[in-house]
């Protein structure tokens, strides 16, 4: 369960990168769009955008565990770049001949252009509220029975939203449109892309939770009431201690999902990615809620960083939709499909 020395090297390198390049003012300055082109440019230099793509295709050939460690470090600092999205989209492109043959494939692997996944099938040629869609050059989406990659101009504007996330509606029938797959292959590739995105997002949320807990602990040790730090009160301590098991356990669950992916067990990896996504989202919501709560009134003021964490804990996972719908999909995997006539 412990990272290997190589994995620690990857983790520590990205921890240093994000500590240096993404102090919290970078997150604040990127609002409301939620994207920092400067940070993306720096990240591009590290090779992170193409890490998930095979070396033979010009990528970094990283394992799923390395990608997870990268995402955890990105999550800790709330890095305002569509990295989870880009990793999922580029891995999907690399899985198809049409994707690999795209004129701009190499640019996507390099990170010179940004690719993102639509998490829901397009309706009437439009993919709604695509994560990273406001800043992406390429959107990978299910359009009818086709999985397509569409290159078009990024709108560079997002509807104001809870997480200051660069969401946008994107047309998938205009621009440079490539069909990656159709029929059942398209469905399967799209499901796998979603699993990749879920796992990357689970990693980001795990990192977000870990840091949100640290922020909460630091604040309660510094804030004095009734002549002592509020961290000395058992009510506060117990509430903070409650967060440890969920954070540890769901972080391990995400790692186990990545390990299953690296072992080549795609079905197991998808099941665990769904579980890790749901669990990490739940824990991030609860952790940021508590941590914000222990800040008292200051927690809801924009001056304090914890509100940035609180909003992203909700906003990042909810782009997939109501978690209850994902629980139902998970139930199908675990217990087999429900009898159709009573599906309500």
């Amino acid at each position: 369960m412990e990272p290997t020395e190589d994995q620690k090297t990857v983790r520590d390198a990205f921890a240093r990168f994000f500590a240096d390049r993404c102090p919290i003012n970078v997150v604040r300055d990127a609002e409301p769009l939620g994207h920092s082109p400067a940070l993306w440019a720096r990240l591009r230099e590290t090779g992170a955008p193409g890490m998930g793509v095979d070396e033979k295709l010009g990528g970094g050939g990283a394992t799923a565990i390395d990608l997870l460690l990268l995402m955890q470090e990105a999550g800790k600092v709330l890095a305002p770049v569509p990295l989870a999205e880009h990793l999922a989209a580029t891995r999907t492109l690399a899985r198809t001949a049409a994707g690999r043959d795209a004129a701009w494939f190499g640019d996507a692997v390099e990170g010179d252009i940004i690719a993102v996944p639509a998490l829901h099938p397009a309706v009437d040629g439009t993919a709604r509220l695509v994560p990273g869609g406001a800043v992406a050059d390429v959107v990978v989406a299910l359009d009818g029975d086709e999985l397509v990659a569409v290159r078009s101009d990024a709108p560079m504007t997002a509807p104001p939203n809870h997480a200051c996330a660069p969401l946008a509606d994107r047309g998938v029938r205009n621009g440079d449109r490539i069909v990656l797959a159709d029929g059942p292959d398209a469905e399967a590739l799209s499901a796998r892309m979603r699993a990749d995105w879920q796992l990357a997002t689970a990693g980001a949320l795990a990192g977000l939770s870990a840091r949100a807990l640290e922020i909460g602990i630091a604040y309660t040790q510094e804030r004095r009431q009734f002549d002592r730090p509020i961290a000395a009160f058992q009510a506060v301590q117990q509430g903070l201690a409650d967060l440890v098991g969920p954070i540890d356990g769901t972080t391990l669950l995400a790692a186990r999902a990545a390990w299953a992916d690296d072992s080549g067990d795609t079905a197991e990896a998808a099941r665990l990615a769904s579980m890790a996504f749901l669990a990490c989202a739940d824990v991030a919501r609860n952790t940021t809620y508590r941590s914000l709560h222990y800040h008292g009134g200051y927690g809801v003021t924009l001056e304090y960083d914890i509100q940035l964490y609180f909003r992203r804990a909700r906003g990042w996972p909810l782009v997939l939709g109501d978690p209850d719908d994902e629980y139902l999909r998970l139930a199908d995997r675990l217990f087999g499909p429900a009898a159709p006539e009573v599906t309500r």
Binding site: Q7, M275, F335, A339, V342, T343, R344
Partner: protein
């Protein structure tokens, strides 16, 4: 990060599964539930005959022994199969303590009896007036003035609560107060008492979850000094060794797995009044999927202390983290299952051999105690807050 099962551990798991299949009968399981005594001599001695208790756990100052991961698997498989294992857990725990702290006399006289399965032990820490505050033990041990050169004799008076299996035990490990003038943790001395000493009596205490436990009274019990375990007024050091075992691998935290499996099996056939199957109800499916996620998280946290010990390192707060999460998750699962089962979830087991129903009610009754025994959730949180998060000691 490697999540591949260790081949040696999986081999051991298969051997334990075979052992359980060969030796555990439905009658044993039924008797355990009917009597509340989760110990079966026939099963216990058959297991002891495999040498597993004598082999003990490697690490913790012990060169040979079983991989802690194997012992984790042993209790996990016992739990999944519903095998009565409390006697085994206590025997292995006290045997481990004797090996680390016991005298030559203990090693020669008592240890072989635990190893062979001839005897098991009960744990005498908790008292009617002290549970979580275990160092507040008031059971008194006073040295009887004797002649020089004679073996000193201690006079023990007091009572111990929740002495589970004392009615089957040959020995009880007993935390006593030997010096009331010293600070709370310093005036304690541990003994290992043979249960046949005159002056020891016990009464059954029945519990909501069906476990039979006991209250044990010690009235002018004369205890020769050779039954002392560790130094005089050094009882807390012995306690720390014992607690390390209790919060380590000797137990089963994956009760939610069995509950979910049984519930899903049942929900596949159980029909609502409108003729629909429970398993087809989206609300039920969502809740079951949530339990499945909790179970996965629990499994990873539960195995972690054993994994750390298996690598020759000492787990610190990982046991507390696992116990807190597992027990709270089991309660969530039991509550959810009872609600989903509706009124049928209220029906209790009838104890008939092979009877499947009643497991929901049983889980709902059993789950609350898991957040209490072995250190309450509040004690685990204190431990985590202080030793993991570095918050000031708040008690």
């Amino acid at each position: 990060m490697d999540f591949a099962p260790k081949p040696s551990v999986e081999e051991f798991r298969a051997s334990i599964q075979r052992f359980i299949a060969d030796h555990l009968t439905p009658e044993m399981v039924e008797r355990a539930h009917r009597t509340g005594t989760f110990h079966d001599w026939e099963f216990h001695r058959a297991l002891a005959a495999t040498g597993i208790i004598a082999e003990g756990m490697a690490g913790a100052g012990r060169e040979s022994g079983r991989d802690p991961l194997e012992l984790y698997v042993l209790f996990d498989e016992m739990g999944l199969a519903g095998a009565p294992f409390y006697g085994l857990a206590n025997a292995m725990l006290v045997a481990g303590v004797i090996e680390q702290i016991g005298s030559e006399f203990h090693v020669a006289e008592v240890l072989p009896k635990f190893h062979s399965g001839e005897a098991i032990a009960a744990l005498g820490y908790t008292e009617p007036g002290s549970g979580s505050d275990v160092a507040a033990a008031a059971t008194r041990a006073e040295r009887i003035p004797g002649h020089p050169g004679d073996e000193p004799v201690w006079l023990v008076n007091g009572s111990k609560m929740f002495t589970t299996l004392v009615h089957e035990a040959g020995y009880i490990i007993l935390l006593t107060r030997t010096d009331p003038d010293l600070a709370k943790h310093r005036g304690l001395t541990m003994f290992l008492l043979p249960m046949d000493l005159p002056g020891i009596e016990f009464q059954a205490v029945e519990t909501m979850g069906g476990d039979r436990t006991n209250i044990t009274y010690f009235t002018d019990v004369h205890v020769p000094d050779r039954w002392r375990l560790g130094e005089v007024n050094g009882g807390w050091d012995v306690m720390k060794v014992a607690l390390a075992y209790e919060r380590g691998v000797f137990g089963n935290m994956n009760q939610g797995v069995t509950l979910l499996r049984r519930f899903v099996d049942w929900a596949r056939t159980a029909e609502r009044s409108d003729g629909t199957r429970l398993i087809d109800d989206p609300a039920v499916r969502r809740r079951l999927a949530k339990i499945a996620v909790d179970n996965e998280v629990t499994a990873l946290l539960a195995i972690r202390p054993a994994l750390i010990a298996s690598q020759g390192k000492l787990p610190t707060t990982e046991g507390s983290v696992a116990k807190l999460y597992a027990s709270e998750a089991y309660n969530r699962a039991a509550e959810a299952c009872q609600e989903m089962a509706g009124v049928a979830g209220l029906l209790s087991p009838t104890h008939a051999a092979g009877e499947e129903w009643g497991f929901v009610d049983l889980a709902a009754r059993d789950a609350p105690v898991t957040t209490i025994y072995g250190g309450t959730s509040e004690i685990q949180r204190n431990n985590i807050a202080e030793h993991r998060l570095g918050l000031p000691r708040a008690r």
